[in-house]
């Protein structure tokens, strides 16, 4: 898994590529945590190149989304495909986390 960080105004986009599993989900969580420690409260996760996520990855998404919500911020996730999209739908995380079809939509204010 690789994570590329892109600053867009006051928001940070993390573009995650590859597979997020029990071995590396903690790296994603640490990267998000470091954004939160910098005072960033609006985090966009672009998953267009993420092919695989397991329940250990989902833990990280829920944990980070809750942290941001506590701080009045928001975790926005966009461009899910294939198995990753299926996993979010089965666990109904698509109903509690704002999922967006495009990066532009995830970056919109409001």
């Amino acid at each position: 898994m690789t994570i590329e960080r892109i600053q867009v105004g006051s928001k940070v986009v993390l573009h995650v590529t590859g597979r997020m599993d029990a071995d590396n989900a903690v790296q994603f969580e640490q990267q998000c945590q470091s954004c939160i420690s910098e005072g960033i409260t609006k985090l966009v996760i672009d998953l267009c190149d993420l092919r695989y996520v397991s329940s250990m990855g989902l833990r990280s998404f829920v944990f980070i989304a809750q942290k941001l919500q506590e701080k009045g911020g928001e975790l926005r996730i966009c461009r899910l495909t294939g198995l990753v999209k299926q996993v979010f739908e089965i666990t109904r995380l698509n109903q509690v986390l704002p999922l967006h079809d495009s990066l532009e939509s995830a970056l919109m204010e409001g």
Binding site: Y52, S54, S55, R59, V62, L83, I90, T91, V96
Partner: protein, 156 residues
Amino acid sequence: MIHWNQRSWRAEARGLPGTPQSLTLVAKAESLGPATEFVRKGAQEANLPESRMLELDLLIEEILVNIWRYSYPKGAQGTVTVTYSIPEPGELAVEVGDQGVEFDPLKASSPDLALDLARRPVGGLGILLLKSFAGSLTYRREQGWNRLTFGISANP
């Protein structure tokens, strides 16, 4: 005799029906890679399409993570044995066995998916994924072993 042994070994390596293949690993996170590689080999022998491979990876990961978390108490050294067989072309059966604490994931309570974000527990979704992606899923406790078996087919 040597030739016969060689032929026999080759037949097993191809995973022909009736010749289950097993791999025993230490029950720890580092074993996930070798276990995944092993069952993928079975999937190729069973002619499962590439599109099912990620689902297979997910099934084996969720089962192994459960064993590390629940079957073996913290600090206990344990092993996990992964066995695959090919009941017929296009079908793969995988059994994961461990000798840890009795744990039947099929009896685990279902997570409440209606909770809002603030009240959602961070975990507890692995068994739901397991039940959703496995074509069949059975558990049995047998002489100190947890044995969880799942099936995955070329056609979902």
